[in-house]
């Protein structure tokens, strides 16, 4: 096989004449993290809302919540990217559509919107499951103590549900980082895209993708460690054990 490794390639100047390949990869990582983090905040807020709505005793609200989740779960992420990037500006009123298309960071904004909505449906599913996993007595006790429904959610149900679903939320957070790579189809120059152009320009395919893989692994490790720390910090002694045996 005629492949010569060149592990010093990262410090060589890329075809743009200014940056080394290493700094390009780092800028890709920056966009990956910026996209994933912004979308994650959006997904958490929307997902918590929709997930809570799906457990409320109001039938039409539950139907809408379920439809929301099914809509974002049953269309491939790639197609959703296209919908937000190419189709959404066309469906808006003409002046607004043009404005959206000319935004300076259109790729980034669309990618955040798309990933945010996509992941919010998955977060909503976890939130619903978390709330439903609580013993029924918790809500009954809250009502018996004279709390209104919103108060019961705020002070009794949600604080427990969120602690229960922290582990699946960790994997959703890792998923959103991985899924942000799909945004390269709408020209977001994130980590995978930087690795791909490095491979194409330098012909050092192995080195380029090895670097990207290693960076993704490191980011995952950091997320796992951080989330474990959060889990430990917010844990209520005895809660998980009690809820595991309770139902």
């Amino acid at each position: 096989m005629n492949y010569t490794f060149n592990w010093r390639i990262y410090w060589e100047t890329s075809p743009d004449g200014v940056h080394t390949y290493f700094s390009l990869l780092m800028s890709g990582l920056g966009w990956t993290l910026a996209t994933a983090l912004t979308a994650w905040v959006m997904a958490l807020i929307l997902g918590a809302l929709v997930g809570t709505v799906r457990t409320m005793p109001v039938k039409w609200a539950v139907v809408i919540g379920n439809a929301y989740v099914e809509l974002f779960r049953n269309i491939p992420l790639l197609v959703q990217m296209f919908l937000w990037f190419f189709v959404m500006p066309e469906l808006l009123p003409k002046a607004m559509g043009t404005w959206v298309k000319q935004l300076p960071n259109a790729s980034f904004i669309t990618a955040v919107l798309c990933l945010g909505f996509f992941t919010s449906a998955r977060v909503a599913e976890q939130v619903r499951a978390g709330i439903n996993s609580l013993p029924r007595g918790q809500r009954m006790a809250a009502t018996a103590m004279g709390l209104t429904d919103p108060q019961a959610y705020r002070y009794v149900v949600l604080p427990q549900a969120f602690r229960i679903i922290l582990p699946p939320l960790t994997s959703e957070f890792i998923n959103i980082i991985k899924n942000s790579a799909v945004a390269l189809v709408i020209n977001l120059v994130e980590l995978t895209q930087q690795a791909r152009s490095m491979a194409e320009f330098s012909f050092k395919v192995f080195e380029a993708f090895a670097a990207a893989t290693l960076i993704y692994l490191l980011v995952n490790a950091v997320v796992v460690v951080l989330m474990r720390a959060i889990e430990k910090k917010v844990a209520i002694p005895g809660l998980i054990v009690a809820s595991a045996g309770g139902h």
Partner: protein, 230 residues
């Protein structure tokens, strides 16, 4: 809103879209599912092995694959396939690996990691006593696995395996990044040829939604039926 839309573009190209594009997607999905479940089951058995020399590499592989984006894995195989092929055959120059073969290998190896975790849970859901009973009857490891444990594990995990297959069906659309003629790829070609991006992408989303949603309803029904018998 839809006044200056031209949905005629779909009427003109539906044969191409479905018989070439969707057929390609379905073929890749089914083959990758079969290969992925087979390899995934082997990986799950390896991960549950009491021999560290077998369990460790399998666990490393599964965790590695599960922490990188599918798009990156597709690029890995697409760009490095020719070099690895040359290394296997012993040729001096990179060999040409067919697009379909390259995509299929990628998806089998990638999805195997996810199917592995499902099958591992499935195997662990079978009571220990079943294994002991198998050995007590004089069956060896492969017989116990093949005739006693795996059939029950599969049965328990069919709904989850199918849900993962729906995910795989959606994931196949990512072969777009290497320009393969799957459902999205073909729709994209037609959309750009006729300048009808909006109509085409909306149609593609609708088709995916109908297919995936009805499949997920089927899975839910199956889940209830399995649950009733057990």
């Amino acid at each position: 809103m839809f006044a200056n839309f031209d949905f005629d573009v779909i009427a003109r190209s539906w044969k191409y879209l479905f018989f070439d594009g969707l057929a390609f997607t379905l073929k890749l999905t089914v083959l990758a599912m079969v290969g992925g479940i087979f390899l995934g089951t082997l990986l799950a058995m390896a991960r549950l092995s009491s021999k560290r020399l077998i369990a460790m590499p399998a666990a490393t592989y599964v965790n590695l694959i599960r922490s990188v984006p599918l798009v990156l894995v597709i690029f890995w195989f697409y760009f490095l396939g020719p070099y690895v092929g040359a290394w296997i055959v012993g040729a001096k120059d990179p060999v040409k690996v067919g697009d379909f073969a390259s995509a299929l290998i990628t998806f089998v190896l990638f999805e195997a990691a996810y199917y592995c975790e499902i099958m591992r849970a499935g195997i662990q859901s079978v009571p220990r006593g079943q294994v002991w009973a198998g050995y007590a009857l004089g069956l060896n490891y492969w017989q116990t696995m093949g005739k006693v444990v795996l059939p029950q594990a599969f049965r328990n995990m069919i709904p989850v395996l199918l849900t993962q297959t729906i995910v795989l069906f959606q994931d196949v659309s990512l072969v777009y990044v290497i320009g393969l003629p799957d459902f999205v790829g073909i729709a994209d070609k037609v959309a750009h040829r006729d300048g009808r991006l909006t109509e085409m992408y909306l149609f593609v989303a609708l088709v995916y939604f109908i297919l995936c949603y009805s499949l997920s309803l089927l899975v839910k029904q199956l889940q209830q039926r399995v649950a009733v018998i057990r």
